[in-house]
């Protein structure tokens, strides 16, 4: 269940001046960049939800000026001293840090959602494919412990190709570790809401992402345990086009709802009002 990178999306050739338009990767519509950005990268023509960075997600969900980040100094561990054909994991992690400006694939903190304070973890797919590793798991566990101490809801936005194989078995154990944190919230009657964004796979889908009190997803998000190619190779048949989409999961009973990005904040605020009864 290693994390994967989707093949780079092709940018279509066009004569339209650069900078003014964004091109929807799905329907290829040209959208005014301002319009696209203010819609948080949702295509007005086909409702394609482009991946967001953690910072964009926080801006979308959290009331302005209320986000307080936790443990931003935590960086990847290299428990195996891992090297592969292309070099060392240590270097790879340094490159990811330089590229994204993040220290890990998840940003955690507390913030208000329309005035309701919650603990929030947001994964960022740009950082080594949003892969789950020791520092990722540690930050999520610390966030759940904070929610437990402060008696607040925990919200996790997932975006991940799976476990980070460069940390081997230690990354696998983060699945058990994060779920142990969720189990404590459960026993304390505190809400945990999982929001799955594109993509949510492997070690993340098989741990905290699918055991929310509510499992929510964005439209079109791909969510699964094994990747499509692995399954097709195993069963030797072609899978339907909508296989592992959020819509497919909703149909099979694994989601409470699919929520458009533009409505996500209000939706979360509304459901939080039902969930904090045991808090006092």
């Amino acid at each position: 269940m290693g994390w994967f990178k989707r093949s780079a999306r092709k940018t279509p050739q066009n004569e339209i001046p650069e900078g003014l338009f964004a091109v929807c990767p799905r329907c290829k519509a040209h959208i005014y960049k301002d319009e696209y950005e203010s819609a948080f990268k949702v295509c007005p023509k086909c409702n394609h939800h482009e991946r967001l960075t953690a910072a964009e997600r926080i801006e979308l969900i959290v009331d302005k000026g209320t986000f307080r980040e936790f443990n931003s100094e935590i960086k990847p561990n290299d428990p195996l001293d891992f090297k592969d054909a292309k070099g060392s994991y240590r270097q790879k992690a340094e490159d990811a840090i330089a590229k994204t400006g993040l220290n890990e694939a998840v940003v955690t903190g507390s913030g208000d959602i329309n005035g309701t304070r919650a603990v929030i973890a947001v994964m960022d797919f740009r950082f080594l494919g949003g892969s789950l590793a020791s520092a990722t798991g540690e930050k999520i566990l610390l966030a759940s412990e904070h929610a437990l101490r402060m008696k607040r809801a925990l919200l996790i936005f997932s975006a991940s190709g799976g476990a980070r194989m460069h940390e081997g078995i230690v990354s696998l154990m983060q699945m058990a570790k994060t779920c142990a944190g969720i189990a404590r919230l459960d026993r304390a009657g505190l809400p945990y809401i999982s929001i799955m964004t594109d993509p949510t796979y492997g070690g993340v889908s098989a741990s905290f992402a699918t055991v929310g009190d509510l499992n929510i997803a964005e439209p079109g998000a791909l969510i699964g345990f094994a990747g499509r190619r692995v399954i097709e190779q195993t069963i030797k048949e072609k899978l339907p086009d909508d296989f592992q989409t959020a819509e497919y999961l909703l149909e099979h009973g694994f989601l409470d709802s699919i929520v458009n990005r533009g409505e996500m904040k209000d939706y979360l605020h509304r459901v939080l009002q039902y969930s904090l009864g045991k808090k006092v």
Binding site: M1, L80, K83, A163, M165, G168, L172, R184, I223
Partner: protein, 322 residues
């Protein structure tokens, strides 16, 4: 199946078998010769097994003659009552469980079944559980909690099954649910990795208070072939990936992932399944006795701390709060 690094052993074994057929009256040297071969075999076995690479270990963990869950049940338990079905969808054939008696301990015994013949392998889906397997396991664990029975999980799976129906029935959720629920179970959980610990498929029944592992079992986030295909762009370089992934019992003990190695007899479990199973039984019994002395609250807190420690990256201010 012969492992190439054991070829020399196989040759000596064959020679001993040939000599044993001869009449010792006609060949006065015979017993002496056989004795010498046995001694040679013993030292050669030791030399080979002291110098195994991680990839060799993978091959041993997958060996055709390695004891399988059903062999452990037969060898370890004076009683086993299999309990079927997840009450939702079906009865998984790759992941089974039931009431078992090991020494004086009544437990819930759960494990993966691989099968040895081709028919058995197909019947048991090569030990790759579907979601209903993990859900059956959880049902049995909850039952164990209700009855106050300790849980023993024996892990031997290449992976959770990557199939279409498995996805449609929520393979990811089934595993995730087990991880979450097992963290809170109020009975002791002993886990034994006996063969292949294949990623999330293994972990789905491997959250425990004590994680034991046979000397030549492996436990990994991804099969070495898969890792090599991605990071080396060549599945043939699996031996390098196996090395880098640190998947042997010894490495995992160093990393604090497992608690105890159960030694296999010289030449591996496939040469002497009986001794292997007996040692496993002894180790499980000892662990059960130790864990049964702890209060349930203590047990649960320790289990939390055990997994919270794995991959910890910084000093934490407070101890776990609950």
């Amino acid at each position: 199946m012969n492992l190439e690094f054991e070829n020399e052993l196989a040759e000596i074994e064959e020679r001993i078998a040939e000599l044993s057929k001869l009449d010792s009256k006609e060949h006065p040297q015979l017993n002496k010769d056989i004795g010498a071969l046995r001694r040679k075999m013993k030292s050669l076995t030791r030399r080979i097994y002291e110098n195994l690479t991680p990839w060799d270990t993978v091959r041993i963990a997958r060996h055709h003659d390695r004891p399988l869950f059903k062999d452990f049940i037969a060898g370890m338990c004076s009683d086993f009552i299999e309990l079927h079905g997840d009450r939702r969808c079906g009865d998984d054939k790759a992941l089974i469980g039931g009431f078992a008696t090991i020494d004086k301990h009544r437990v819930m015994l759960i494990g993966m079944v691989k099968g040895r013949t081709v028919d058995e392998k197909v019947h048991h889906n090569f030990g790759m559980p579907n979601p209903e397997g993990y859900r059956k396991a959880l049902r049995l664990m909850k039952l164990a909690e209700k009855y106050g029975l300790p849980i023993v999980c024996m892990v031997d799976t290449p992976a959770a099954y990557p199939g279409r129906e498995a996805e449609e029935r929520g393979q990811a959720e089934a595993i995730a649910r087990n991880l979450t629920e097992m963290a809170g179970l109020e009975v002791p959980i002993v886990v034994v990795i006996t063969g292949e610990g294949g990623s999330g498929g293994a972990l789905g029944i491997a959250v425990g208070d004590a994680i034991l592992m046979l000397r030549y079992a492996v436990y990994s986030v991804i099969p070495p072939e898969g890792c090599a295909a991605i990071l080396w762009r060549d599945a043939e370089r699996a031996p390098e990936a196996a090395d880098a992934l640190k998947i042997t019992a010894e490495s995992l003990l160093d990393l604090g992932i497992i608690d105890q190695i159960i030694d296999e007899p010289p030449g591996g479990a496939h040469r002497d399944p009986e001794t292997t199973i007996e040692r496993t039984r002894e180790a499980v019994v000892e662990t059960l006795q130790r864990l049964k002395r702890q209060s349930t609250a203590r047990l649960r807190d320790n289990r939390y701390d055990k997994f919270a420690r794995m991959g910890r990256v910084k000093k934490r201010r407070s101890k776990s709060s609950k």
